[in-house]
Symmetry: C2
Subunit: 97 residues, 2 copies
DNA sequence: TTAGGTAGTCAAAAAAATCTGACTTATTGT
DNA sequence: ACAATAAGTCAGATTTTTTTGACTACCTAA
């Protein structure tokens, strides 16, 4: 059941909610992400959860999926402009921690 | 099962995670909170969930519970200093929304 | 050609979060 | 004295999120 939210910050908060999204986002600040590397980097995570998180981050427009057609032929996830706009918030969050 | 988090922002994000916390926090910016008013103000919520959220916000040190011993003798929840430190982050979040 | 890597999907199970309704204790207003 | 309000708690049910393990499909290196 979907519900309307009254609090504007809620939407943004929800974008990074869930067990793995914040960590994925943080790693995306450093370099383009690749599925299996992520699975190795984030200990305790699992395929399904990462796949779901990546799909949602993509749907929310924070990450974009890019098929690299060169040599090792693989897929990358990059921060979008919208994703980059979130960096200062994220840093402020880290600053308080 | 508890797990250690690697991402520093995660802790802060978690403080305002959950279905009602952001909304509660937002209302706390305006005025001290009272349980039953909150229940009426936040449509769709319920006692138990609000009680849990308030308890957690208190444990996290964002709200403090105050017993007002005057005339109508009641309980208030106020933003703590730590809670107030979160205001700019919250505003930035709303600014992006 | 066979093994290993990459990038997943699917169904089902388990765990965590949220909701419901009944009940409590103390204080007010009439 | 009685009913209403305030501020909850508790057990159980329901819902949502997260995890597990099996299974695809494609490519590459030996």
């Amino acid at each position: 059941m979907e519900e309307a939210e009254t609090c504007p910050a809620q939407r943004l908060l929800k974008m990074l909610s869930g067990k793995w999204k914040a960590e994925i986002f943080r790693l995306a600040l450093e370099a383009p992400l690749r599925f299996n590397s992520l699975l190795r980097q984030i200990q305790g995570s699992n395929k399904q959860s990462l796949a779901t998180a990546l799909k949602e981050l993509e749907e929310e427009g924070l990450l974009e999926k890019v098929t690299i057609k060169l040599k090792p032929l693989h897929i990358e996830y990059n921060l979008t402009e919208k994703g980059k706009a979130l960096i200062p918030v994220f840093q402020q969050l880290e600053g308080l921690a």
